[in-house]
């Protein structure tokens, strides 16, 4: 079974909001100094889902990541989790692509990789959170699309998927190949062990450019993007937090109770 997982390297979402700065002119976030970027949390869960399938069904996991050359760090992390091969898709032409452009680049890379049984993506990127690349990619590849999976199994020739809905779960069956987007409800990802880290360090992670995947210039031309960001702002939050105190903590708790009871 060959599973391809798409992962994105993003600004660490755990940075304290006070450190979050944007440049409204360029409509970009200014990465705070000294904070390394991380793998997007839902993409890491997608890798975990792939590893669980490999544990049960054997097979191979290929990771692709579109980003800067530094995305190799994130790919290497997935190799240490148990992925077999990883490729970074990097090119000046890949910068500032919208969801369609991103899905297009990923689809071209997947076509170059060859046959697969499953493509996994995170449900949304932890930075822009557009929540569409997986579905658009599925449409471009012409395969069934299932979103928000919290469990994936192989039963015979089919995929059995449990997905999240507002008041519970749905259980679906889909053929292979399909594309599935993964949600955090799948559970915590494995921590790479010594073996995994060692093997990952030895692997070569190739980089592919637009010319390597046969990406057409017209599809990467920003003038043809489907959506554009026309503004980026940080909402000002006016909140004066009134701190409740007391001589003892128990008294403080009592004072807080007196304030809460008036609100409910």
């Amino acid at each position: 079974m060959h599973t391809i997982v798409c992962v994105k390297q993003v600004l660490d979402p755990e940075i304290p909001p006070a450190k979050f700065k944007i440049d409204p002119e360029t409509k970009k976030v200014i990465p705070p100094a000294g904070v390394p970027p991380v793998i997007s949390v839902f993409d890491e869960r997608a890798v975990e889902a792939a590893c669980r399938l490999k544990d049960k069904n054997k097979g191979k996991i290929t990771i692709i990541s579109m980003g800067s050359a530094k995305a190799a760090d994130v790919v290497r992390h997935t190799l240490s989790m148990g992925a077999d091969d990883g490729i970074v898709l990097t090119d000046d032409a890949f910068e500032n692509l919208d969801s369609f452009g991103t899905a297009y680049v990923l689809s071209k890379a997947i076509k170059k990789i060859g046959a697969f049984d499953l493509v996994l993506c995170g449900r949304q990127a932890a930075d822009w959170g557009a929540g569409q690349v997986g579905s658009i990619l599925g449409e471009m590849l012409g395969i069934p699309i299932i979103t928000l999976a919290c469990n994936i199994e192989v039963t015979g020739q089919a995929l059995k998927i449990r997905r999240i809905v507002r008041d519970g779960f749905e259980v679906l069956e889909a053929p292979m190949p399909s594309l599935i987007t993964v949600s955090s409800e799948i559970g915590l990802p494995r921590l790479p062990g010594g073996m995994g880290l060692m093997m990952a360090r030895r692997k070569v992670i190739p980089t592919w450019k637009a010319v390597d995947i046969g990406a057409e210039a017209a599809m990467l031309d920003k003038a043809n993007s489907h959506t554009e960001v026309t503004g980026l702002s940080v909402p000002t939050r006016k909140s004066e937090c009134e701190m409740i105190t007391g001589v003892t903590l128990v008294e403080a708790a009592g004072n807080l109770a007196a304030r809460i009871i008036k609100l409910v």
């Binding site: 929540g131 979103t147 928000l148 959506t227 960001v229 708790a253 409910v264």
Partner: protein, 333 residues
């Protein structure tokens, strides 16, 4: 595409009625259509579609497109995508609106991929730019740390998903006139590759998050599943719902359905009590609509104190029992 015209709402039928979010989208859709000088239509898929036509017209639709095939009574991604894309290719809407619901979040991106439109998900606001007549969508990014405005200059339809209770409901006017158009394209069964095998309802004990006037949420600071009982007890005493942050759900201290945040539920109760919650933006985004946020955290630098109105800097273990007991006393008084 100059031929794209009008606003189309993807309507949802829940328990045989128009979903509240659909009525909200009809309200917003009507305003957008008026600003464009164009028509508002709605797509209703399911056996009740025809009978709800007049009501949709009363809420502002000029045209109701409906396919009453019972195949649509249970959401199926393949069938819905085919039906919606079939209509869009004929009706060529300029704007298409969806609820940010189970169906909307699955269908909108897929339909966008099929049609080659421009989609903004989880929008906080929608407007028509008076100069360009483009739809301008405002949405949260970076877990809610920032807001982005997005525009699709050429790609059509311009699409957006909006969470329930974000927009005001449309006003009902039963004297409004409109037409109901039956769609009779048969769904080709060979397109249905995904089979829905079962639906499992997760029983939530106590009050439902989305309807609660009081929510008590616990974060990573709670430390363990056993200790989470203290959060639940406070919620019980206040007659409120229990919420949790994503890391808490990841740890399995609560069912995943209790997650409040950008990738979970968005709530706007009268009182939101955050216990042992640091206040990462991805969580805060889920509760910013609350009238009053109360925070209990032992870290005075925690971001939660930047968004809360009332705060108590303390280890929750040392104050929650006394707080709960006092509130119990005050409630029964």
């Amino acid at each position: 595409m100059d031929t794209a015209k009008g606003v189309l709402v993807f309507g949802e039928i829940v328990d045989g009625k128009l979903a509240p979010v659909t009525i909200e989208l009809l309200g917003a859709g009507r305003k957008l259509a008026n600003e464009l000088g164009e028509e508002l239509s709605v797509l209703l898929l399911g056996s009740k579609g025809g009978s709800l036509g007049q009501e949709a017209i009363a809420f502002g639709a000029d045209t109701v497109y409906t396919d009453t095939d019972s195949i649509f009574d249970v959401y199926n991604s393949d069938a819905y995508t085919q039906a919606a894309s079939g209509l869009c290719k004929k009706a060529l809407p300029a704007v298409m609106l969806f609820g940010h619901t189970d169906i909307g979040c699955d269908l909108a991106p897929r339909l966008n991929g099929r049609l080659g439109g421009g989609l903004a998900m989880d929008c906080l606001a929608l407007a028509i730019d008076p100069a360009t007549k483009f739809l301008v969508s405002t949405r949260p990014v970076y877990g809610g740390n920032a807001r982005a405005t997005m525009v699709a200059k050429a790609a059509r339809p311009q699409m957006a998903t909006v969470r329930p209770k974000t927009l005001p409901a449309a006003e009902r006017n039963d004297s409004r006139q409109g037409k109901v158009v039956m769609i009779e394209d048969k769904i080709d069964p060979s397109v249905m590759k995904i089979k829905v095998m079962e639906r499992i309802k997760e029983e939530v004990e106590g009050v439902k998050l989305e309807d609660a006037e009081v929510v008590v949420s616990g974060g990573r600071g709670i430390g363990s599943k056993q200790n989470f009982e203290m959060v639940k007890e406070l919620a019980r005493v206040l007659g409120g719902a229990v919420g949790a942050t994503r890391p808490v759900c990841d740890e399995g201290w609560t069912p995943a359905g209790l997650q409040v945040g950008q990738s979970g539920k968005v709530v706007s109760p009268k009182v939101y009590i955050a216990v042992g919650v640091s206040g990462a933006m991805a969580h805060i985004t889920g509760c910013l609509g609350s009238k009053c946020i109360v925070a209990i955290n032992k870290d005075k630098e925690a971001n939660i104190f930047n968004v809360a109105q009332l705060g108590l800097i303390a280890d929750y273990k040392e104050v929650l029992p006394a707080l709960t007991a006092k509130l119990k006393e005050l409630k029964t008084a």
